[in-house]
């Protein structure tokens, strides 16, 4: 244990055991533009002084992943996924694919008569969404792998979780090779002048979130050279062919997968399924399917109950139920008295406006291709359960043409990987330097 961590144990011995060893400096609550400017200056200084190879970064990440397995982090949503993400086995292939064969040691690679090498863009600003607990960390790791320094705005609701996870990085990185390239700040989302200060201090930005917040950040005055990478806002849908959902032997398993995708992130992530399309089939009964789905939702809810809800979301769920059923007798629904979950059943090929909050609209369609043809680029992920591989490939091709960026198996809709939202995660935040030797 480093001297610094020992100090933390002593000074914070009065707090809850789970918060022992939490480094409160890992995320600083800032109140002035000067604090942000100073943090950015320190990051630039670190970039000037150190060069770090992707391989060295992976080594620290590997130790960080191991540190995250501590029991005290078991209640952090996404901690398990983060552990897997940080493993060399996960990130090395991503690095090799995005930055080339020599990427690990940070060297040059041949490109005809020239050589290429990835260099960091500089200081990358991160504006993660507030609805995915580990997103500040995920976003940051992508830019760090490119050798960048990171200035991260942590949404106020995620400060505690982020501090707990970052404390483990300090354990894994006692010499500060990575931590001195990171500055995490938190401030109220309405503090435009602090957002502005952050935007002006960075060379690149990774922006995640809903329409309102993304638009707000994009309006900031970034330097003219800054590269802006936007993830979201998007919605996701699921689809099943009749051979899959009509098969009573496997239906319960598929329903569990769907429930898992709906529950994660309280259905507020861009990869959360909002609508499930069922291809009509002879002998297939949608009501039977809904009963299995209802059971899966009940079980998932028992395993992962909500502990709080925004009153506005409870209102929105009540309104979605009523609006759906008041449209007429063709529309059906299943829901408990509480706003825990809602299944709305009907027919049609249009994706309805999402309610979120574990409200899944299930629509029976004649042809899944027709539903895909209505996508307008808003759809991020198409979760599939299709029995026939040829049919699935045709659907994937049509979905790609209609703007879908991820086509995955149901139950794996949230598995974060590169590319995401149709773009690579590391390469956009590096400069590829071309070097042609002066001597032939």
């Amino acid at each position: 244990m480093s001297e610094r961590m020992k100090d933390l144990v002593v000074t914070q011995a009065h707090v809850h055991p789970q918060q022992l060893l939490v480094d409160h400096d890992a995320v600083r609550v800032v109140d002035s533009t000067q604090e942000i400017v100073s943090a950015a200056e320190r990051l630039r200084e670190a970039l000037r002084n150190d060069e770090i190879t992707p391989s060295a970064i992976l080594e620290i990440f590997e130790k960080w992943a191991a540190a995250l397995s501590d029991r005290e982090l078991h209640d952090v949503p996404g901690a398990t996924f983060l552990r897997l993400w940080l493993r060399r086995g996960t990130l090395e292939p991503v690095l090799l694919r995005e930055l080339g064969a020599n990427a690990l040691r940070g060297g040059w690679w041949e490109d005809g008569r020239a050589r290429l090498r990835a260099f960091p863009l500089g200081v990358v600003g991160h504006w993660p969404a507030a609805n995915v607990e580990i997103q500040p960390i995920l976003s940051m790791t992508c830019a760090l792998l490119g050798g960048n320094a990171c200035l991260v705005r942590v949404p106020s609701g995620l400060v505690d979780i982020t501090r707990r996870v970052m404390t483990k990085l300090r354990v894994a990185d006692p010499d500060g090779l990575l931590t001195r390239r990171i500055a995490m700040v938190s401030f109220d989302h309405t503090r435009t002048e602090l957002h502005e200060a952050m935007a002006q201090a960075v060379d690149g930005a990774m922006i995640w979130g809903g329409a309102e917040s993304v638009s707000q950040v994009r309006r900031l005055q970034f330097p003219h050279w800054a590269r802006i990478l936007v993830f979201g806002p998007r919605v996701s849908v699921a689809a099943m062919d009749s051979a899959t959902w009509g098969n009573s032997a496997n239906r319960a398993t598929w329903c569990k997968r769907i429930a898992r995708d709906v529950w994660q992130f309280d259905q507020q992530a861009c990869s959360s399924p909002q609508t499930l399309f069922l291809e009509r089939g002879e002998g297939c009964n949608a009501n039977e399917f809904i009963q299995d789905l209802k059971k899966a939702f009940d079980e998932e809810n028992a395993a992962h109950p909500r502990h709080e809800i925004e009153p506005s979301l409870a209102s929105a769920i009540a309104l979605a139920r009523a609006t759906w059923l008041l449209r007429g007798e063709g529309n059906e629904a299943e829901f408990p008295s509480a706003p825990d979950w809602t299944i709305l059943l009907g027919s049609g090929t249009d994706v309805p406006n999402p309610t979120q909050g574990r409200t899944l609209t299930v629509l029976v369609v004649d042809d899944l291709q027709e539903m895909i043809s209505k996508f307008d680029g808003t759809t991020q992920t198409l979760g599939l359960g299709i029995a026939d591989p040829a049919k699935e490939e045709a659907l994937a091709r049509a979905a790609g043409r209609s703007g879908v960026d991820r086509i995955v198996k149901l139950g794996r809709m949230h598995v974060f990987s590169s590319p995401w939202d149709g773009t690579e995660l590391i390469r956009p935040m590096v400069r590829l330097v071309r070097y042609v030797q002066s001597q032939d």
Partner: protein, 385 residues
Amino acid sequence: MSSIAEIEQGIDGLLAAPPYGGNGDVQQRRATLLALFKQELAYACEQNPRFRNYVEHWPVDYREAEEIADLPYLPVGVFKSNPPLALVAASEVKRTLTSSATTGQIPSRIVLDAATSRRMTKGVLTIVRDFIGSARRPYLVVDTPENLAAQGQLGARGAAVQALGSFATEIVSCLRPGENGDSRLDVERLLECAAKWQNSEVLVYGFTFVVWTQLVQPLQQLGLTLNLPNARILHSGGWKRLLQQAVTRDVFASGVAAVFGCATERIVDYYGMVENVGVIYPDCEHGNKHVPAFAEVIVRDPLTLKPVKVGERGLIQVCSALPTSFPGFLLLTEDTAEVMSYDTCACGRQGTSFRFAGRVPKAEVRGCGNLEHTRLRQLQTSGVV
């Protein structure tokens, strides 16, 4: 199956009783209401197949419900639909009430037939009489005459102004339409009336924000006092804009009392909404809002949607037995309140008492799955396609 005549008889019985305690004990009152709501739900299901579809999917069969809280309620947002949700034929609609939606929002539309309209007036009178007595008196409306005259389609302000008209010996509006579509205080007319009514009981009504910005502030600027110590000022409507200007309830009350020259106790804030026809909730002398015999208020925990305990806050559900022209018996609002008591308030009024806590705040977490417009809709709105 319930006949409308049976239902009307039940409603009239409740309306005839003293509003806050003369209808047996609280439990008996709730049992009477529960039975009436079940009849009304059955009737509504017969009248409107879309409403029946909703009720049939409710997790609890309303016929078996043992509490009003178990009955199927509608969120008020469903009344933003067009055509409005109705239980009567269009030919029977006498008036359509619209809510005071803020800019860019769709207002609720409530259809009233003659019977519901009559009950709406009677309900408000019964409640207000309990607070200010039954004597008729001069009625000063802090609004324009146009809002008094409206019939057919009536906004929330107009409905509130008109509802108190039965207490009036004469009605005077103290605002005049301005040149830019706004309104301005008719100071001359106001002072003339104030001089005439000086020692009389006077009823004053206006929207909270209008009373402050169009009456109190102009009079303060002019340094004028109306000298109406017997004025009773009723006001309703949101506080959001006033609170943004740092006008708290105390600042408001002392400001109004100063320009009228009356005690702050004579100023009564009440909560109400057009969807909850015939029911308003004035503050009693202990600052609590009360529910009359023909209505109920349930405050629901957003997490479970179950009723909260005394002292807890949640979403307000308003229940009223009065409407039969639209399914507005049981409505989940977008407002929050704290339950003060389920039995008796220190003021002596029986039944549920509560304190309004504000509108449901807009969700703060706007995740990456939060789309305000699809790409196609965005392009259409901007005229690109």
